[in-house]
Symmetry: C2
Subunit: 213 residues, 2 copies
DNA sequence: GGCGCCGAAATTGTCGACAATCGCGCTAGC
DNA sequence: GCTAGCGCGATTGTCGACAATTTCGGCGCC
């Protein structure tokens, strides 16, 4: 536990800890002791405590009463549950995005489509980044705060499994056409198809997770 | 703000405040001042504070930094968003329930089906209670903790609008057949139909909410 | 030699006090 | 009479200390 930040104010503390968890700086199931974190980040224990409380509500840390907090480990079964939920929610967002998208949005997606196809064959880091950008833009265009806020939480929880999958050999070749299909459905302003393609894509992710364990 | 409970321990405080909010004891947009609540419930301000923090994470109270907490008012547009999300999630649960249901579960649902049809024509309170029970049983049978925990949060937020709608004249006559259709799909062990019927039902609720405002 | 009880260390939960911030009314100046 | 700036009351944010709880190790007893 390296004290990378000597003094951190409380407002940032939640973010700092969240980043540390999702980036894997803290190992799953690692205990998060309030006094230690307090010393490491130079904040008072009360500040650490509220930060842990928020992260507990986000599902990133487990908090057992009187027994402290630890980094929540997401088992495979739950990662799949999360993806099942995302099928419903991202399907909804894709459908809304197909309704809302503007002409300039369509142009933007056309460029994204080309870039994704290119990167999927050459640069997996870039490909992964573009996929995230696609997802983010779909959510922005969907204009559905309720769904988006839930998705954001779920994404943080599943990030470890997602990451593992992203660089699995041959995965990009499968997922790239699925992303393209989603883009095409949205730019055609076809909500039902956008939803179906999104669900199909996430279904394929579930399949992949199941097989590679 | 009547101090109905002279001394309340912190563990219960979150629950007490949550119940007070969803039951309408606190008006929407009402300010929740830490010192006042502390005095009213006989707990320390720190305990009140953590309770408010949790309720904030649940979306039941708005917390603006340095400006305190207030009961979150859910506008109609957001109530509809919540129902749209529930379409995805309850559809998923219904689908899983159709896969998981046992023989004894089928028998239980058959009885529930009859009771719902009866109550829908005579006793709206009982009808509303049975509907809630049906929803709860579907969630239990679905065995999908991730979806269920999200649904529980959303239900608490939307409860006011739901309640208003439940006793709208003629509403029961519309919703009862929809509930029956959901039951029939689940007891037929037909996941796709269970999902479709559930989504149709919630779609009908959205329609109703839109028209009665 | 193993099992259960007691006690100490570690850790979380709670409290009251102090500091920081925000909103509002009041005054002064034009 | 109106506006800008100041200061005060109200409320939240932060802190350190104390109390309560759990966990782990040692000791005695069977």
């Amino acid at each position: 536990m390296t004290a990378v930040t000597p003094t951190a104010t409380r407002a940032d503390l939640t973010k700092i800890l969240r980043d540390a968890i999702v980036s894997g700086e803290f190992a799953p199931n690692q205990r998060l002791i309030e006094a230690d974190l307090s010393a490491a980040y130079g904040a008072s224990r009360a500040s650490v405590r509220t930060a842990l409380l928020e992260l507990g509500a986000e599902g990133l840390v487990d908090r057992e009463p009187n027994r402290g907090s630890r980094v929540r480990a997401i088992p495979l079964a739950e990662a799949i549950e999360i993806l099942e939920v995302r099928m419903g929610l991202e399907g909804l967002c894709a459908s809304k995005a197909a309704e809302n998208i503007t002409e300039s949005g369509i142009a933007e997606f056309a460029k994204l489509r080309a870039d994704i196809l290119t990167a999927s064959e050459s640069d997996l880091f870039e490909y992964s980044r573009l996929n995230q950008q696609l997802d983010r833009r779909i959510r922005e265009i969907a204009e559905h705060p309720t769904a988006v806020s839930i998705l954001e939480r779920l994404r943080a929880q599943g990030v470890r499994h997602q990451f593992r999958l992203a660089f699995y050999p041959g995965r990009a070749a499968v997922s790239a056409p699925e992303h393209v299909a989603i883009i095409d459905a949205i730019t055609s302003r076809d909500p039902a198809r956008a939803e179906a393609e999104t669900r199909a894509h996430l279904g394929s992710v579930i399949q992949a997770l199941r097989t590679i364990g």
